[in-house]
Amino acid sequence: MQSKQRFDKVLIANRGEIALRVVRACREMGLKAVVVCSEADRNAAYAKSADQSICIGPSTVSKSYLNQNAILLAARLTGAGAVHPGYGFLSENTRFSAAVEEAGLTFVGPDASAIATMGDKIAAKKAMMAAGVPCVPGPDTELPSEPQAIRAIAAEIGYPVIVKAAGGGGGRGMRVVLNEAELLEAVSLTREEARKAFGTPSLYMEKFLQHPRHIEIQVLCDTHGNAVWLGHRDCSMQRRHQKVVEEAPAPGISQELIGPVGAACVEACKQIGYRGVGTFEFLYEDGAFYFIEMNTRLQVEHPVTEETSGVDIVQQQLRVAQGETLSMGQGDVTCVGHAIECRINAEDPATFMPSAGLITALEMPEGEGIRVDTHVEAGYTVSPYYDSLIAKLIVHGRDRADAMQRTRSALASFKLEGIATNLPLLRELFEDAAFAEGETDIHYLEKWLKTRGAA
């Protein structure tokens, strides 16, 4: 009932396609949406699509989208009762989540303690092991400083090992060690990098998997102790730890194999009192899953799960934030068909250099099973200040082969002129036989790019 709602206006502390995605969810739920923007985005059509938009600072992200005070003031000014952080920017910032709640507003995401637990990779691993989630071999404790103790841990794990920053994530703050001769120098360098980049020199060590795939499990939890997992994704097609193509479900992984892992993720959420949506990321090699980290936010690739599960994940986020009980149990979750997402980036397809400028023409693919999430249009100027993601092409088919074929057609009809994009690269990648076969590992794309460059 409307009167029981905690909020009726949501401030979206983000930009671009995800801001527009949240606006759409708010509109469909009868909620008002406020978009904050920087000077660079103030005239963008997407910002004006909200019920209200307000410029909070200059184009530099530290003075706008990362400016917590400006965002909180904007929420107060516009009468918003909730703040949706989207992904990136402040979405996994413990202080921001706490500050929103302290201001008497609802943070559309987990509370600060859950973000903090999962942000500390050692604490996260400890929590996952306690819940029975499979982890990469290696202790769930901080790496000691004594050289002899470090050597002993590495020897017990077995080379190659990887040294990681406890405060890192997303591929940052890690170093692979192939043998004992490299060990102490690698630890010393990583410790110093971690101290500078993440504010803590704390490290941990794990077995380095050489040919893993990147598999994710999407969870959804309410504040009443209910949680479900919405299937799995494969995000192995990466370049420099940045995902390029994602798909759901992960090909070649049976329900019997991943079912217990999904159940363990749900159990972990219940144990730590997690609320909202989240993603457990795993490395998968030789039929085994190894937890690497949990993202305590909406993911860029959430649409592939939406397309296969039929669940609007952003709406569910908002319902959980309103204090509603999940309307589904695990038995109600069924995934149908196969979905693929291509990230369309404003970048040179050969050099990957960002390409800012005016989009002079835009024709997007349409049809059954085709979805494009974007904030750009013809006449839109891509700003050099922000991430190069300008659109997401999401295609749903009855199976993987059908989804691949539909994606090829959609990519062929996707016309975007005025700036360089990675569309030519994606078209070429979807003609690759090994990718079409499926189950390629996280190093495949970089190897493929090298081969392509040499050709």
Binding site: C37, I54, C55, I56, L73, T78
Partner: protein, 137 residues
């Protein structure tokens, strides 16, 4: 009646011709926005024309005061009088209100308020124009 553009060369030419025909040595026209000076000096080789024309806004161009942050704009006492006033360094064109906070928006030293660009109580964002000021003459 619409004021003529005193920087328009065709108009200056017509005025000069009219001055010559009337036997007048020169004319000076001054308006708040423009001024024009034409001097004619007769000699055996015919009149030598000197003229200067300027838009005062090139030296007194209005400046836009932009909002330094998001807030609800309320004009200050200075501007509520409705009569342009010359500001001092501490003068404001108004305040931005966010909850209990009132942030003064400076007019700038030795500036004259021309007009406000938003209504009292309007929610403005960072960089939104809120007032026009011009340098003191």
């Amino acid at each position: 009646m619409t004021d003529m553009d005193l920087t328009n060369l065709a108009i200056i030419e017509r005025l000069t011709a009219a001055l010559e025909a009337a036997g007048v040595d020169g004319i000076e026209v001054t308006r708040p926005d423009q001024s024009l000076l034409i001097r004619l000096s007769g000699s055996g080789n015919g009149p030598v024309r000197q003229f200067s024309s300027r838009r005062p806004d090139s030296v007194a161009a209005p400046e836009v005061v932009k909002s330094p942050m998001a807030g609800e704009f309320w004009p200050s006492d200075l501007s509520r009088t409705g009569t342009p006033a010359t500001s001092t360094a501490s003068d404001t064109v108004g305040f931005l209100r966010v909850g209990p906070i009132l942030l003064p928006v400076a007019a700038g030293s030795s500036k004259r308020l021309r007009r406000h660009l938003v209504e009292p109580g309007t929610i403005v964002g960072f960089g939104d124009p809120i007032a026009e000021v011009e340098p003191e003459a």
